[in-house]
């Protein structure tokens, strides 16, 4: 086959001045490397702790909490800024007294209905958009029109159409979720590589089966990002809407709890309500979305960010 070493005679590969190369050709048997020494030095404890994202985040939260407590004590004005201790006490009393859990369940109940309906509608839009060019244009135009419109701005109209009740809140929730989720899902569908689509069609998949079995999982990183954004939009819209007209059916949600306690100048309760909103947000982000992310996109090696 290809010519081996040419040896010492002068030629293209001969050494300089035509002298023989001092390196000899050889072939060697490999030694068993199983006994090669392995040296592992564990990192110091603080460095290992610092490498854990959870530890770093807990540290940040502790610093914030200490800052809160210190500032509130220094300010010494429980009407404007109660201490963390007083807030936690109010939170504990609210939870034990049963008022906060009731408010939370009202809020979450409405939220799930609105979020669920918004997500289902968003997928319907995205699927229609991906199947035809006209559908794409419809989605893009509607999103450009409605996505910048704050959900709260629709509230007066919703009140007029659906009356004072959960239906109005669900309406504005759908509006806040729909466009963000549809936009992300559609962007995800479009980013699915031509090869992946061709593979799916090669199996004889077409139409809704192709969308469900190929496009949906292939676009999942983008869809999940949309669901997270949608969740944040929905949560914030809900609290705002409840603040405006929360006590619709006699039992309001968390937003109404905050509003009511402000009127009664129960400021620690106001802070407890806000803290509850934050804690639920953190829990959903880290427990639900975090778990989904670990089990899907990260496991599949599909996550393109952070």
């Amino acid at each position: 086959m290809s010519s081996p070493s040419r040896g010492p005679q002068p030629g293209r590969n001969a050494g300089q001045d035509g002298r023989a190369d001092f390196r000899k050709d050889f072939i060697r048997d490999l030694v068993d490397a199983a006994g090669a020494p392995v040296v592992v030095m564990p990192l110091p404890a603080w460095e290992r702790l610092y490498n854990s994202a959870t530890a770093r985040k807990i540290f940040i939260i502790v610093v914030l909490a200490l800052g809160w407590e210190a500032y509130a004590r220094w300010l010494d004005n429980p009407l404007l800024f109660p201490t963390l201790g007083a807030t936690l006490a109010a939170l504990r009393d609210g939870m034990i007294g049963g008022e906060l859990p009731a408010r939370i369940s009202v809020s979450i109940g409405v939220l799930l209905v609105g979020y669920g309906a918004g997500v289902v509608l968003a997928f319907a839009f995205a699927v229609v958009a991906i199947t035809s060019r006209l559908g794409t244009d419809v989605l893009e135009t509607l999103t450009a029109m409605f996505n910048p419109l704050p959900a709260i701005a629709l509230l007066p109209l919703a009140l007029l159409w659906f009356g004072l009740g959960n239906a109005s809140i669900v309406f504005v929730l759908i509006h806040s979720v729909l466009w963000a989720v549809a936009l992300n899902a559609h962007a995800g569908f479009r980013a699915v590589s031509e090869i992946t689509r061709m593979v799916g069609r090669n199996y004889g998949l077409a139409g809704i089966a192709l969308v469900w079995q190929i496009l949906l999982p292939a676009a999942f990183p983008s869809i999940l990002a949309g669901l997270k954004i949608g969740w944040a939009f929905a949560w914030r819209t809900l609290i705002a809407a409840e603040l405006v007209f929360g006590a619709t059916s006699g039992s309001g949600g968390l937003g109404w709890y905050i509003y009511e306690n402000k009127n009664q100048i129960e400021i620690p309760n106001v802070f407890a309500g806000l803290l509850t909103v934050i804690l639920i947000g953190l829990a959903v982000e880290n427990l639900i979305f975090g778990t989904v992310e670990r089990r899907t996109v990260r496991r599949w090696g599909m996550q393109s960010y952070g």
Binding site: R201, G204, F220
Partner: protein
């Protein structure tokens, strides 16, 4: 039909019914649209593939060989002419013609190696769960990846991904395996290995494969018949038989690789001369 029936005697030892074509391509012209123009990729191409062929489409880039393969896959409809498989015209993609691509994202990233093959068998070949499972493991074992069945594709090397794609293609037992430069994205050493392994697998089951490449060496190694295409638009330049070794070809009187090189090069030289004449 073909006027080059002077093939050397060592070909196609497995073909029992030498005259029946599995795949017939007759006068096929293919066009595709770019936003600016309508491009004719392939012009009136004819060829025949019989069972157990290792049929290679070889040509410079721009000869439309990949477009032709996609047409056989059913992704593109010919403007004129027809493509038939077992006498039935090809109108859409289907599991009787499995594609193997060069791109690494041909494996579904949300499924493990085994799930990828099982999914293909269940969705495409419509096998039951148990049967699909057994067959998938068997084929994964055949390409030497038994230890990686439960691993996700992103943890595999490029060569291993190509092996999974081949295992999937073989498991589905298509009438013809369509390979679109499957080893082009691999490093040279891995590519050599994959070529040898593909031939070893072929020795085992004698599947029919239509193989697209732009490498003369790969065509000579892989092919039992080689169709040479010229560029812009793709037209058939020659069809040569191949024994698997780079021997003197009776039709050209030169070594096969040299013959191919000359046939492809001749074209380019002519084109350059024409361009030169136009300029003059």
């Amino acid at each position: 039909m073909s006027d080059l029936d002077t093939e050397p005697p060592t070909h196609n030892p497995g073909a029992s019914e030498p005259t029946a074509s599995l795949l017939e391509v007759r006068g096929v012209t293919l066009q595709y649209k770019t936003p600016e123009a309508l491009v004719t990729a392939v012009y009136r191409v004819d060829f025949d593939i019989v069972r157990s062929d290792r049929y290679v489409l070889l040509g410079p880039s721009g000869c439309g060989k990949s477009t032709l393969l996609k047409a056989v896959g059913g992704y593109i409809r010919p403007i004129e002419g027809r493509i038939t498989l077992n006498g039935r015209e090809i109108t859409r993609p289907g599991p009787d013609r499995v594609m193997v691509f060069q791109e690494f994202d041909q494996l579904l990233p949300w499924k493990t190696v085994k799930q990828n093959v099982v999914f293909a068998l269940r969705a495409g070949a419509r096998l039951g769960a148990k049967e699909a499972n057994e067959k998938a493991l068997h084929c994964i074992d055949k390409v030497g990846l038994a230890g990686f069945a439960d691993v996700y594709p992103h943890m595999l090397s490029g060569g291993m991904k190509a092996r999974v794609a081949i295992a999937r293609g073989m498991a589905m037992e298509p009438d013809i395996l369509l390979m679109d430069e499957p080893f082009a994205a691999l490093d040279a050493l891995t590519r050599r290995n994959m070529q040898d392994d593909l031939l070893a697998l072929w020795d085992d089951t004698r599947f029919t494969v239509l193989f697209v490449t732009h490498s003369i060496a790969e065509a000579v190694t892989i092919g039992s018949r080689i169709l040479l295409l010229s560029a812009h638009p793709g037209q058939v330049k020659a069809e040569l038989g191949c024994s698997g070794r780079d021997e003197i070809h009776p039709l050209t009187g030169a070594k096969l690789s040299d013959s191919i090189h000359r046939l492809l090069f001749e074209d380019i030289r002519e084109e350059r001369e024409e361009a030169g004449n136009e300029l003059a």
